[in-house]
C-alpha cells in the first residue's frame, strides 16, 4: 500500500508574544484586578532587564506593574541621583521622599511584589536606573499548591 501523503499546509508563523524586555509595562493596559491563574507545572521563568532613564520632573511615574504572581524587582542607580522609588503614587519631593532614595553608590535595592502591585519612580534629574525583574518560581508554585489545597478543602466543605 503506497504511503499516503498529506497535502502541504501553508506555513504560518506562530503568533509572536509581545516583548516586554526594555519596555516598562503600560499601566493603562494592565489590569491589576484580573483573576490570578497560577500554573503548578509550568512556573514562569521569564527574566526581564532594561534600563530606565528618568527625566527631571515633578511627576511620579509608574516604573513597573506586576503582571505575574510573584516577582523580584531589583533596582540599581548608575548615576548620581536623586531617584526615589516606592509603592506610593506620589514620591515628591524627591529629596525628602516618602519612598526610598536609591543609593548613589550603585548598591541595588530589591522588592518582592505580588501581582497587581506597582512600583513608582520619581527624579529631579536625568538618571539611569537598571531594572531586573525576576520570577520567583518556588513562591509561585507554593502559592499554586496552597491555592489548590484551599480550593479542594473548600469544595469538600461545600458538599452537602
Amino acid at each position: 500500500m503506497p504511503p499516503t501523503m498529506k497535502p502541504l499546509q501553508p506555513f504560518r508563523m506562530p503568533p509572536k508574544a509581545p516583548s516586554k524586555i526594555g519596555v516598562p509595562p503600560d499601566p493603562s493596559t494592565t489590569n491589576p484586578g484580573q483573576a490570578t491563574s497560577i500554573s503548578l507545572n509550568q512556573p514562569d521563568t521569564l527574566v526581564q532587564s532594561f534600563t530606565y532613564v528618568t527625566t527631571a520632573s515633578v511627576e511620579t511615574q509608574v516604573l513597573y506593574t506586576a503582571d505575574r504572581p510573584w516577582v523580584q524587582v531589583t533596582l540599581a542607580l548608575e548615576t548620581g541621583g536623586p531617584v526615589a522609588v516606592g509603592v506610593q503614587s506620589t514620591l515628591q519631593p524627591v529629596s525628602n521622599s516618602p519612598g526610598i532614595l536609591l543609593p548613589n553608590s550603585g548598591e541595588p535595592r530589591t522588592f518582592w511584589i505580588a501581582k497587581g502591585n506597582k512600583i513608582y519612580i520619581s527624579s529631579t534629574s536625568v538618571n539611569r536606573v537598571t531594572v531586573v525583574i525576576s520570577p520567583l518560581p518556588w513562591l509561585q508554585q507554593l502559592t499554586a499548591l496552597l491555592t489548590a489545597v484551599f480550593q479542594t478543602v473548600q469544595a469538600l466543605l461545600s458538599k452537602p
Binding site: 527631571a56 548620581g80 553608590s105 529631579t124 536625568v126 539611569r128
Partner: protein, 266 residues
C-alpha cells in the same frame, strides 16, 4: 566659553559615563557653566590651566540667596552629594533661577592684557587657558586631583618683525623650566615676565588696577647657538601667566623653546 555650552546630561544619555567632563577654553573670567547632574565629587581635570574653580550649589540653609560655594583647586576636590535643583522648588534668590550646580573659574584671565611697552607694530599671541573640571556621578575610587605637567615646545618664533609676545597661562604652577636657544643666523631677543592679572575696572588706566609684571628672564639678545635656561620655583613666585617676548629682525626665526610647568617642585 564655547557654544553651545556642554550638556551635562549627554554623558548619561548618550555615553553611559559616570562623570561629566567640562573641558573648554575660557574667554574671560566671567565664564560660568551649569550642570543638571548630581555630583559626588568635583575635581580639577588633568588638562586644566585653571588651578582654582568655584562650585556653587543650592543650599536651603544659606539664605537669603540659598547659594553656597566651595572652592576647589588642583590640590583639593569637593567630596559630597551636590544635588542640582532642576525642577520645582530650589530657586536661587533674588534671581529666581533654578538652583543648578554652577562651575566657574576663580583664577583671573585678562583677555585684553598687553605687556608693558607694547606698542604699534608689536604682536601678541595668547594661549587661552583651558578650564577642565570633572564632575563625578559616583565617588571615584581614588581622590587624585593633581594636574598633568604642561609642556610647550616651539621650533619657530612668531612671524612678526616687531616685539612678538606669547602668553602662556601658568596658574598654580609651583615649578617651571624655561629653556631658549636661538638657532637663527640673526640675533634674537628673548625675555620672560611673570604676570599676575587683576580685574581692571575701566578707564582711565591711572585710576584702575593694573596687571602685575615680574621680570623672570631679563631682555637680552642671543646670537646663533646661544640661549638661556632657567628654573623658576615657588620661592620666586607663582604667576597667572608667562609673557614671553621673542624679537628678531626677520619673521619666524628658527628657535628652540621649551617651557615645562608642574604643580610639584623638583
Amino acid at each position: 566659553m564655547g557654544y553651545p555650552q556642554p550638556n551635562s546630561n549627554n554623558p548619561v544619555l548618550q555615553q553611559s559615563l559616570d562623570f561629566f567632563r567640562l573641558k573648554t577654553i575660557i574667554a574671560s573670567s566671567g565664564d560660568m557653566y551649569e550642570t543638571e547632574q548630581t555630583s559626588q565629587f568635583v575635581a580639577i581635570g588633568p588638562d586644566s590651566d585653571i588651578a582654582r574653580a568655584n562650585v556653587a550649589y543650592y543650599d536651603p540653609n544659606n539664605g537669603p540667596s540659598f547659594l553656597s560655594t566651595a572652592e576647589i583647586s588642583n590640590r583639593r576636590g569637593m567630596n559630597g552629594s551636590l544635588y542640582s535643583q532642576n525642577v520645582g522648588g530650589g530657586l536661587y534668590q533674588p534671581s529666581g533661577r533654578q538652583g543648578r550646580t554652577l562651575l566657574y573659574p576663580v583664577d583671573i584671565w585678562d583677555p585684553n592684557y598687553l605687556p608693558t611697552g607694547f606698542s604699534g607694530g608689536d604682536t601678541i599671541f595668547r594661549y587661552n587657558p583651558i578650564f577642565d573640571i570633572i564632575q563625578y556621578f559616583r565617588q571615584p575610587p581614588s581622590f587624585e586631583t593633581a594636574r598633568s605637567d604642561r609642556l610647550y615646545t616651539l621650533q619657530t618664533g612668531p612671524a612678526g618683525r616687531g616685539n612678538n609676545w606669547l602668553i602662556f597661562p601658568c596658574y598654580g604652577r609651583s615649578w617651571m623650566m624655561i629653556q631658549f636657544t636661538n638657532q637663527w643666523v640673526d640675533p634674537t631677543t628673548f625675555e620672560v615676565r611673570g604676570v599676575n592679572f587683576t580685574i581692571e575696572t575701566g578707564s582711565p588706566a591711572l585710576l584702575s588696577p593694573q596687571d602685575q609684571e615680574t621680570s623672570l628672564i631679563a631682555s637680552a639678545s642671543y646670537n646663533q647657538g646661544l640661549g638661556v635656561s632657567k628654573v623658576i620655583n615657588s620661592s620666586v613666585g607663582e604667576f597667572d601667566a608667562l609673557a614671553v617676548n621673542i624679537t628678531t629682525t626677520v619673521g619666524a626665526p628658527i628657535i628652540a623653546l621649551k617651557i615645562l610647568m608642574s604643580d610639584y617642585g623638583r
